[in-house]
Amino acid sequence: MLQKAKDGLMDIKLFRRVMNWGKAWSLWSVHLETGCCGPEDMARACARFDTERFGTLPFPTLRECDLIFVTGFVTKKMAKRLKIVYEQMPEPKYVIAIGHCAISGGLWWDSYSVVQGVDEIIPVDVYVPGCPPRPEAWIQGIRMLQEKIAKEGMRKK
């Protein structure tokens, strides 16, 4: 029995699976609103949609967070701050781009002050389209990110 447990711990694949499970179900999101998907951010965090079921708790301190929701368009002035916030967060960290504006500029495709797609500044893991996306779509984005994390460090089948 003891030998079996020891072998289990030494099994890097099992170890990684446990690590990934832990990472995927405690994605605390930093409070940084960049665009106008903000009210949906509030709606998905509150009682009706309640993303805390999936381990996503909005948290004020960025040093304890793992996830940024880029909510909507990012202006050039905000882009610098977004980068600072991303760099200050500890590893592992993930980014979900919410809305058309964050994905590709969206409605502001010809604006002089909006960054055309947030992936120009920070790496993005999951894109959620919509203007703004419904809270259900946010939840789907979180679930997709969890599936992605579960495959981290695993060999492809």
Binding site: V30, E33, C36, M78, R81, S111
Partner: protein, 360 residues
């Protein structure tokens, strides 16, 4: 003691997209300077590149945070004034219904933000949850939760669906009962009184001098409401009152918003009862004649002013937007002088500013 410079935001639970530069002496804030521009998209310039119809979703996002229907109404008013257009009766009522539902949603959102700033987490959940009921109604009416593009030039896009009226009346009844619970939970709460009473007192003379608009001005005791003073659409047919505050402190600013929810329910009931049958949209040529027009409407956060210069083409020559949050922002440095640092979030949230329409 030496004066320390402090910077709050934009990543901060209270300042949404703002950055505040504070001069602090110990715990006392001497001066506050708001750093705006984090959400500047250049809407006024973009509006010149697009046609009047293409502008609808762009203008809506001046304040798409909570109050898109109220924002859009002003843009349509100014175009229709320049064209000399008379909208069908049913469309006018539907516009008012959308705008008033949106006002309720916006005020509930403001209330929940306010309570989270004072540390009352339950009242964060309750109004947001009740706001979902209103958003469901709006979704049924317009097909979207937050950004509707429902009202269009010459009318509205969709008619009222079957069973909407009964459902709306049912939900409004519920919300009216629910407001009493809010009073018990938040407005008569001792902790809440201690945090908000006599904090950030805006005297009526100062409010008028600074040009503050909307519920913030009414909380100071000045009875100004565009819906009464200069009625647009069909507001002159409804019987409603303008709630005002006494002291002009943070508490009054929230209480006025709660009372306005009651008045909006009142208006909605009358509108749903009186709504006539008929067409909902009129065909309109895409060209707006040459000339200038200015209109103002009362959105949830205050008075929206639109100044349009048309040059006889399909695109506006110039569209100047005067949003309520920008005018209310001026009150923030005025109120944040010689106050404790802990009161800054309360005053900021009580003004109900939205950075979107400050920067445009």
């Amino acid at each position: 003691m030496s004066i320390m410079k402090l910077s709050i935001g934009p990543q901060h639970p209270i300042s949404a997209h703002f950055r505040f530069l504070l001069d602090v002496d110990g715990d006392v804030v001497l001066k506050l300077e708001p750093d705006v521009g984090y959400t500047h998209r250049g809407i006024e310039k973009l509006a010149e590149k697009r046609t009047y119809l293409q502008n609808l979703p762009v203008i809506e996002r001046v304040n798409s945070y909570c109050d898109s229907a109220g924002t859009m109404l002003g843009y349509l008013e100014v175009i229709e004034e320049l064209m000399g257009l008379e909208v069908p009766e049913r469309a006018k009522y539907l516009r008012v219904i959308a705008a008033e539902l949106n006002r309720i949603a916006s005020h509930l959102y403001a209330a929940s933000l306010f309570s989270v700033a004072t540390g009352l987490e339950t009242m964060l959940m309750w109004p947001i949850n009740d706001r979902e009921l209103i958003l469901d109604l709006l979704e049924r009416l317009t097909g979207q939760r937050i950004t509707y593009t429902y009202q269009t030039i010459g009318g509205v896009r969709f008619d009222m669906p079957d069973g909407f009226k009964e459902e709306a009346l049912k939900r409004l009844d519920y919300l009216e009962k629910r407001t009493e619970d809010y009073y018990k939970m938040l407005l008569w709460n001792h902790t809440f009184h201690m945090r908000t009473k006599k904090v950030g007192i805006l005297r009526p003379s100062d409010a008028i001098k600074l040009g503050v608009v909307g519920p913030n001005l009414r909380a100071s005791g000045v009875k100004v409401d565009v819906r009464k003073d200069e009625p647009y659409e069909v507001y002159d047919r409804f019987d409603f009152s303008i709630p005002t505050g006494k002291n002009g402190d943070s508490y009054d600013r929230l209480e006025v918003r709660f009372k306005e929810v009651g008045q909006s329910i009142n208006i909605l009931r009358q509108a749903l009862k009186d709504i006539p049958k008929g067409p909902i949209k009129k065909w309109v040529p895409p060209i707006v004649p040459k000339g200038e027009a200015y209109t103002r409407v009362e959105a949830a956060r205050g008075e929206f002013g639109y100044h349009l210069i048309g040059d006889g083409s399909m695109k506006p020559y110039r569209l100047k937007i005067s949003p309520p949050s920008f005018r209310n922002l001026i009150a923030l440095p005025h109120l944040c002088q010689n106050i404790p640092l802990a009161d800054v979030p309360i005053i900021y949230i009580s003004l109900d500013l939205i950075p979107m329409d400050v920067d445009r």
